[in-house]
């Protein structure tokens, strides 16, 4: 039943899809290679090329990559394991500060960027486990509240431990990456873009592998019914911790990358807006579907970073009096809110849902299994 035994020859498209299914990792890498080479071409075509010069586009795409990473990581926690985490930015902060400590004049250390990616991921995962251990026994709403608290506490710690973090001033002059003697610079965003695509592609391969594994099934089982999962032999506590740790490690990666590009880190970068934005990306993109979440993050980031700015200029040029005076960038969270509400009403499964969630959210009453008739008989 897993291998369809149809007599007629499958179409070339069907054969391609079957191939892609059998070689998923290669398909993902190829997909990223194609996307990464097409994007720079697309932004040279008129409507987009008039918005901003190509190097700014590429720079924006590299930044978008940070949010794609964050969204893919949060998707493990929220989309797969079903744990509502409202303080995800905490792990982004931890990864960022890890890189700042490892490679800045402030600590006098200069650990290279590439191993620091791993260090950032491991440190974030460890703290994810430490923060998760006492809280993951909580369910649903309570977990959401506690993670919200962590999301506030972690930046507050970085803010107040000023002996170690320079407090509000933040840590500056952080070293930029280097690859085989080639120094990344602020002027040229292309190396960041390429490196980011590499990190994204590899992360996505890993996440797809996890999702299809014994562990991924255990996460989904917990999301569907925690008690039944435990009664099937799943250690729900450690399995949830692993989801938390893996989600956190992805955020750690994102933090290291973002900091190496910005060359500065301060506690103000990790407020609730970050957690919220990433959660909105996951929900709008389509919880549980990795490509969907990545695309959702990309679209939302691009709209926010480019199109809203463009909208201001657009209306300034048109001389529409009311619209001219509105700063659309300021209304970005309002727009998120409206988009989320509209989405929940019209397409609750997100833009690119996994087939599972689409079924779940569009069940008609016919699909629901019949309620059994009562059977109470002492027919001895």
């Amino acid at each position: 039943m897993t291998t369809a035994t149809s007599k007629r020859l499958p179409s070339p498209w069907g054969r391609l899809r079957a191939r892609a299914r059998d070689h998923r990792s290669l398909t993902i890498l190829a997909g990223w290679a194609i996307v990464a080479s097409v994007l720079p071409v697309i932004v040279m075509i008129p409507p987009l090329s008039t918005f901003q010069p190509e190097s700014l586009w590429i720079d924006g795409f590299a930044n978008a990559g940070v949010f794609i990473l964050l969204a893919m990581g949060l998707n493990v926690v929220v989309g797969l394991a079903g744990l509502l985490d409202l303080g995800y930015a905490a792990f982004f902060a931890i990864g960022s500060y890890a890189y700042a400590f490892g490679a800045s004049p402030f600590t006098n250390l200069q650990i290279p960027f590439w191993p620091m990616l791993l260090v950032g991921a491991v440190v974030a995962a460890t703290l994810g486990i430490l923060l998760g251990a006492p809280t993951l026994r909580l369910r649903g709403d309570y977990l959401a509240i506690v993670t919200l608290g962590f999301g506030e506490i972690v930046p507050a710690v970085f803010l107040n431990a000023s002996a170690f973090t320079k407090g509000t001033n933040g840590i500056g002059g952080i070293y930029k990456p280097e690859l085989f003697g080639f120094q990344f610079t602020l002027e040229n965003p292309v190396p960041y873009y390429v490196a980011m695509v590499g990190v994204l592609a590899i992360t996505m391969v890993f996440l797809y592998r996890l999702q299809g594994s014994r562990l991924g099934r255990a996460w989904m089982a917990i999301r569907e019914d925690e008690l039944a999962a435990a009664s099937s032999g799943i250690n729900t506590i450690t399995t949830k911790l692993l989801a938390f740790a893996l989600g956190a490690s992805t955020a750690g990666l994102a933090g290291v990358f973002a900091t190496s590009k910005l060359t500065f880190v301060g506690p103000g970068q990790f407020g609730f807006q970050v957690s919220f934005t990433v959660l909105a990306m996951v929900v709008l993109g389509g919880m549980g579907n990795i490509w969907g979440v990545a695309t959702g993050a990309f679209v939302i980031y691009t709209i926010q970073a480019v199109l809203l700015k463009e909208l201001n200029q657009f209306f300034a040029v048109l001389h529409v009096p009311i619209l001219q005076s509105i700063d659309f960038v300021q209304y970005q969270y309002l727009l998120y809110g409206v988009a989320l509400v509209a989405m929940m009403l019209l397409r609750p499964e997100g833009l690119f849902p996994s087939s599972r969630r689409r079924q779940e959210l569009h069940a008609t009453s016919d699909d629901v299994a019949d309620v059994p008739p009562p059977t109470e008989a002492l027919g001895a």
Binding site: L130, F206, L210, S231, S232, G233, N235, E376, A377
Partner: protein, 338 residues
């Protein structure tokens, strides 16, 4: 089908032994001092009117509810009982770390490096405790016993100890396919970990392929051949019940707890389920504890029957003995008018 009467040999091969199990929900005593022995390879039924406490007793045995008093032993090992000094557990975690951490903070005044190292040590201690609890639960349990702490086994530990179960109100993983549901049941039989999955090692891939084959086998066993690709939520009610049985069997249990496995089934489905239970006992030597309202099923396949009413065990014996017991008839039909 007449039941073979299995008298448990004294102190013999009991797979499960429940002693004076009591469970109270506030003022309501749902189960009161119930004893139950399950010999290896036996089919034992638990019957009683609605609200008698059958499901509650099940949940105690499965490690879901802690009993108010009483003990459940598996193969002579105490698995479930009222927790003792449970409050000590977080203390054993936190107290050493707090003490060492405080020392570190004090030492920081004298020498920042030494202080920092000691605080790091406290953190490492905390992580080590966590790792012990995750990676070596057995060691961790022994460690806790040193402090006189007893915790009942959690549901997943009961599965590891060889108990599989189904639920009265079906609890499948509704949005996963039937095949995936059974694969989740195999969780403990599979060994590949997160690292295997990340690297897609040959071991992980071979295990995954084998698990699909094995899951298909269980689906066929319960009569769900060809339904593997369907989402569990889309299966008809009777098939959902069967899928729950398949998922429970997939953990390769020695004892299977079935909570009303034939509820909502038509006579033919009921007969098939009854035959399946008999066949599993005969072929695989599985033991069963069955909650059942359908007396034809109970009388047909049980070796012994335990009757609960208002939480109390009012009768225990062979199906024939129980059927004739006046207290049982009274519990079901009410006291005959004087």
């Amino acid at each position: 089908m007449t039941a073979a009467i299995i008298d448990p040999p004294p102190g013999g091969d009991l797979i499960l032994q429940a002693r004076k199990v009591t469970k109270a929900f506030g003022g309501l005593i749902a189960v009161r001092e119930v004893d139950l022995d399950i010999p290896r390879g036996a089919i034992i039924s638990l019957i009683g009117p609605n609200g008698a406490g059958k499901t509650t007793f099940f949940n105690v045995i499965a490690g879901i509810l802690d009993p108010t008093s009483g003990v459940v032993e598996l193969g002579g090992r105490r698995m479930v009982a009222r927790p003792v000094r449970a409050w000590l557990e977080p203390v054993t975690w936190v107290l050493p770390a707090v003490i060492i951490g405080a020392l570190g903070v004090l030492a920081y005044q004298a020498s920042p490096t030494a202080g920092g190292l000691i605080v790091l040590l406290a953190l490492i201690g905390l992580i080590a405790m966590l790792l012990a609890a995750i990676v070596r639960p057995a060691w961790y349990r022994v460690l806790l016993e040193r402090f006189g702490v007893f915790k009942s086994a959690r549901p997943n530990e009961m599965v590891r100890a060889g108990i599989g179960r189904t639920f009265q109100n079906i609890r499948l993983f509704a949005n996963m396919t039937a095949l995936e549901n059974v694969q989740v049941g195999m969780h403990l039989k599979m060994k590949s970990n997160a690292a295997d999955a990340l690297l897609s090692t040959p071991r992980a891939r071979a295990e995954e392929t084998a698990s699909v084959a094995s899951a298909l086998h269980y689906l066929e066993l319960v009569g769900l051949k060809g339904r593997g690709d369907q989402a569990a939520r889309n299966l008809p009610y009777g098939d959902q019940r069967r899928l729950e049985v398949a998922r429970a069997l997939a953990s390769e249990p020695a004892l299977v707890l079935l909570d009303e496995p034939t509820a909502g089934m038509n006579p033919r489905e009921t007969r098939e389920m009854t035959e399946l239970i008999g066949r599993l006992r005969r072929d695989l030597g599985l033991s069963f504890l069955l909650i059942e309202h359908d007396m034809k099923v109970v009388m047909g396949i049980s070796d012994r029957v335990t009757v609960l009413d208002h939480g109390e065990c009012i009768a225990e014996g062979t199906p024939d003995e129980v059927r004739r017991n006046p207290r049982v008839i009274e519990a079901y039909l009410g006291r005959p008018p004087e």
